[in-house]
Amino acid sequence: MSLTGLPLILLTGGLALVAAAATVRVWRWGGRKRIPLRVAGLVAIELLLVAEIGLVVNRQQNFYPSWSALGGSEDVVAAPPAPPGRLDDELDAGGTIAWSPPGAAAWRLAAAPLLVTGPEYGKHRDRAFPVVLALTTPAGLAETRRRAASATGLLTLILQPTRGTTAASLAELPGLLRRDARTGDGLVLLTDPQWSSLAAGWPGRPPVVAGHTATAFDSAARLLPAPLAPPQQLPT
């Protein structure tokens, strides 16, 4: 019988009436059972009336739509851990490595991309790291590498685009990066002014910080979430 259905409400109301009629009937009975019967009858009326009001309110508001909802479940499931990146062995140690994913030639970069991690990357293997993606120039490269090496709780990908580099040609990059390193959704572009139009066209419109100074790098890092373990999810 449904918790919010009319049959249960009618049954409870009917039982309340029966209890009331029975209580009236036994009220004047003689003997030792009179008082216990009176008390039992009154308590039954009280419980049934409270239940009836509760059932009507619950039917109107749908707080507990079913008996199972009344019991409830608080189960959650942990999302599966992010699969390890193919380059984790090298990245775990912290430092800078050249990245040469398949198809990188089509990106038309001036030099091989660089991946930079700090020591926490290897320390927290259950966590996905947010990314500062630096679009830099040879002039800004040294400073960007310096800041990336001392940054904590993130992974830096340094690209040196050319005029031939387009946002469309880099469409495969996020997927390749996720395959090779434990990266999450957190992404900030740190761009030399020369590449601001490339940054503006980036898929998903991530936040963009201009410049390659230490302050600009720190500004970009501050916008990122912390490296986090996979979130709890609801069972579906």
Partner: protein, 343 residues
């Protein structure tokens, strides 16, 4: 004896039983006035005990003093309301004045364990404003949803960054439903929650001040609040999580804005959409919140990003919200900037 404890319920039940027994025993010895008095005592006892249980569920009156009419105001000095160990965050209650709104209310604040570490003393933390349902108070989050326990667990597991969570009141009158709006001729709850509370937090707590570090969440009426406020103040909040929310406030604001600017569905279909991230959860058997949430999801287009999370059953209940709060806090943390050094 606390007003929302099992002890009060048992005491109420015992009083009802005693009055019932007295009615059965003394009926034959009493005249009409005496019988009438006992009947009134039984009815009042049953009503009061049922009311205690309803109050236990909603925490509308978290203390006897609150029931006696004491205005919701904490001790003048911050009060720890939870024991703590080094691994646990602390719940502290402060008074938050409202120079802009005219509302001066207590606010419970969850300060993560990292807030008190030597490293944490040098950091500013991201912030989530968590809004309660109606009827309800911040105590609903604390006692019914065990918000501190959930936050401690998520942070300790690394699924959430250490975050300051604000638990403000949304109305100065416990039985006046503001839905976090500025009621015409009434409490200016929206101003309190979006101007006074953030200004106080920035001035008194080590919290980050930028938009990327502020988010909203809430359940039931608080879920409507979270969505409505994030859409109205996207320059202040980057994300919001709705636990069993609705597209409209379900009250009259006084200027018909419940159909327009204080209506999430209207805003999504009539105004430019702000770049905010939304987590929208519901139980499938909670038909009102389910249909309302689905309508919101259908209307939320880029640049808004939406993630949905539904459980098959649980209704519109604390059980569902206890189930949802961990996943919602985790998701919010993924969409908030990290704790950082003061800028």
């Amino acid at each position: 004896m606390s007003i929302d404890g099992v002890g009060a319920l048992i005491a109420g039940g015992c009083l009802v039983l005693a009055a019932t027994a007295a009615l059965a025993l003394l009926w034959d010895r009493l005249r009409r006035p005496g019988r009438g008095a006992l009947i009134v005592a039984v009815v009042l006892g049953v009503t009061a005990t049922a009311a205690l249980e309803v109050n236990r569920l909603t925490e509308t009156y978290p203390s006897w003093a609150a029931l006696a009419g004491e205005k919701a105001a904490p001790d003048p000095t911050p009060r720890l309301v939870a024991d703590h160990s080094p691994a646990q965050g602390r719940l502290v209650t402060y008074t938050v004045p409202g120079p802009a709104s005219g509302m001066t209310m207590p606010m419970t604040v969850y300060l993560p364990a990292a807030y008190f570490t030597p490293e944490g003393l040098r950091l500013d933390f991201p912030v989530i404003e968590a809004l309660h349902g109606y009827p309800g108070t911040p105590e609903s989050w604390v006692r019914r949803l065990d918000v501190a326990g959930h936050l401690d667990r998520e942070i300790a597991a690394g699924r959430m960054a250490p975050t300051v969570v604000l638990l403000p009141y949304q109305t100065p009158q416990r039985l006046l439903d503001t839905e976090c709006t500025n009621l015409v001729g009434g409490p200016q709850a929206e101003t309190y929650l979006t101007v006074d509370v953030p200004a106080w937090a920035r001035g008194h707590l080590r919290v980050r001040t930028d938009r990327a570090s502020w988010a909203l969440t809430g359940y039931s009426a608080g879920a409507f609040c979270a969505l409505n406020l994030v859409l109205k103040h996207p320059g202040q909040y980057a994300a919001a999580a709705s636990l069993s929310g609705f597209p409209g406030p379900g009250i009259k604001v006084g200027d018909r804005s419940e159909r327009t600017t204080n209506n999430v569905a209207w805003r999504l279909s009539h105004l430019p959409l702000p770049p905010v991230a939304l987590w929208i959860g519901w139980a499938d058997d909670d038909t009102g919140a389910r249909d309302g949430s689905r309508a919101i999801v259908a209307l939320a287009k880029p640049p808004i990003t939406v993630v949905t999370a539904a459980v098959p059953r649980g209704g519109h209940s604390h059980t569902v919200w206890r189930q949802m709060e961990g996943p919602a806090f985790d998701w919010l943390s993924e969409h908030l900037a990290r704790p950082g050094r003061p800028w």
